[in-house]
Structures are given as structure tokens and as C-alpha cells.
């Protein structure tokens, strides 16, 4: 058994628990970022350096920035009241699920059949050759996300009266807000 891999996986589960049970949202988001960083190391150790780089830069970096920005924009005067029972029952459920998980995974995947190996000699040839159609889907998803965010933050256009009021406010008239 690979001890380093086991330690990394335990760290992964530990950071996941911290992200779930921290009351402070900022700390939870940072735990998620650390979890991504540890996952990147696990991926790198499993001969997947490109996926590791994406995990580290996009998920640990960009998504953390998105989470922190959202937390800063939604300063809650009254924090959401969470029940305490999920925290107390969690270890019990985790152990129960862990035992079932161990039995199922060992039973199903202890004799994984060998695959056919990599179809090409490089990752670039796979991504840009065999899986090139995926890139069209990726572009569509990126544009879908961009236009989705733009549509959600769309503002109502100003009416003629609003424009007159804004001009008055600029000239030192009464303030609109």
C-alpha cells in the first residue's frame, strides 16, 4: 500500500469535512481550495499532470476567487442558523457508509481488467486529435456560463424620467439615493 497516497487521501477527506462543518464561510471556501491543491498532488502522482495543473489553477484558483467574491458581496447580517444534529450524527453515518463503501469497492474493483493503454503517444494528440469534438462542447459551455451570468446581472434600462432625474442629481439637485 502506498502510504503517501493514503496520507494525501486522508488529508483530502479532512479538508472536505472542514469545508462542510466550518461556520465561517470564508474558512470553508479556503478549506475547499486546500482540498483542490491536495487533489492536484494526488492527480500528479497518478501520471495525470495536465489534469493536476487544471485542478490547481482553475479549481483551486478561479473557483476560490468566485466563492470569496460572493461571500464578500453577501455579508449576512443574520447568519443562517444551522441545526447542530448533522454535526453530531456525522461520524456515525461516515463510519457506517465507510464500511459499506469498503466492502462494495473491494468486491467490485479488486480485479480491474487491464485496458488497452493510451491510444496515442502524447496527451496533446489525444486532446486535439481523438477528443477534438469535446472542445466544441467546452466552448459552448463557457459561452453558456458567460451569457448566463450576464443575463442574471442584467439591469433594467433607464426610462426618460430616470434620465431627467439623473441629470438633476448631477447638477446638484435632489439626490436619487
Amino acid at each position: 500500500m502506498d502510504i503517501i497516497n493514503l496520507i494525501l487521501l486522508l488529508m483530502l477527506a479532512g479538508f472536505a469535512c472542514m469545508a462542510v462543518f466550518f461556520k465561517d464561510l470564508l474558512r470553508a471556501a479556503l478549506s475547499l481550495a486546500f482540498m483542490s491543491a491536495v487533489l492536484a498532488v494526488v492527480l500528479y502522482r497518478m501520471d495525470s499532470p495536465y489534469a493536476a495543473v487544471f485542478e490547481l489553477s482553475v479549481v483551486a484558483g478561479l473557483i476560490t476567487v468566485l466563492f470569496v467574491s460572493t461571500i464578500a458581496l453577501t455579508k449576512d447580517e443574520e447568519p443562517v442558523k444551522e441545526s447542530r444534529w448533522p454535526l453530531y450524527l456525522f461520524p456515525l453515518f461516515l463510519v457506517l457508509f465507510g464500511i459499506i463503501d469498503l466492502l462494495v469497492m473491494k468486491g467490485l474493483f479488486s480485479n480491474t481488467p487491464a485496458g488497452y493503454g493510451n491510444a496515442t503517444s502524447s496527451f496533446g494528440a489525444t486532446l486535439w486529435g481523438i477528443r477534438s469534438m469535446d472542445l466544441i462542447g467546452q466552448i459552448a459551455v463557457i459561452f453558456g456560463g458567460v451569457f448566463g451570468v450576464l443575463a442574471l446581472f442584467r439591469e433594467k434600462p433607464l426610462t426618460a424620467q430616470d434620465k431627467i432625474d439623473a441629470e438633476k442629481a448631477k447638477d446638484g439637485g435632489h439626490k436619487l439615493w
Partner: protein
């Protein structure tokens, strides 16, 4: 290594699911979703590593990460809009919305 990874895939998925089922904060719900997404990434890479098809699994993971980022961006924009409407991050406040 493969079986150990797959056991942790299940555990991570359970932790994320537990967060989704028990949390009331909308940002926490997204964090739970992210944890489940990470378990999916680990399972893809483990499968590729076990069968010696790491290039193929990496290309799938990169596509998955792109989709994940788009989903999180749109979901966080929805959270901000919901917060502006209700003044709270509590997911139960969304049940009061009309229209």
C-alpha cells in the same frame, strides 16, 4: 492504490451529499456540490490510471472542470440575486418567492 482511491471517492461523495442534505446556507450547498465534483474527478483519473488510459481520462477531466466552473459561476450569480431579493442566504427563504 486503485481500490483505496475508489473507497475515498465514495467517502468524498458521501461528505458532499451530507452537506447538500443537511445545510441551509446556499453557499454551503455549492461547497457540497464542489466536493462531489472532486470525487468524480478522482474517480475518472483512478479509472484511467488503472487501465493505463491516462490521456483519455485527463481529457475527460479537463472537459469536466470547464463545465464545473461554468456551473459554479452561474450558481453563485443566482445566489447573489437571491440574496438581493430576500436579504438572506438561507435556502428556505426561496420558498417565499412568487411569480
Amino acid at each position: 492504490m486503485v481500490v483505496t482511491n475508489l473507497i475515498f471517492v465514495g467517502l468524498l461523495f458521501f461528505i458532499g451529499l451530507y452537506c447538500l442534505l443537511t445545510s441551509r446556507n446556499m453557499i454551503k450547498l455549492l461547497i457540497g456540490l464542489e466536493i462531489m465534483a472532486k470525487s468524480a474527478v478522482l474517480s475518472f483519473i483512478t479509472a484511467g490510471y488503472a487501465r493505463g488510459e491516462t490521456f483519455f481520462s485527463q481529457s475527460l477531466v479537463i472537459t469536466f472542470i470547464v463545465i464545473e466552473v461554468s456551473i459554479v459561476a452561474v450558481a453563485l450569480a443566482l445566489v447573489i440575486n437571491a440574496y438581493r431579493n430576500t436579504g438572506s442566504l438561507d435556502v428556505r427563504s426561496l420558498t417565499k418567492l412568487k411569480g
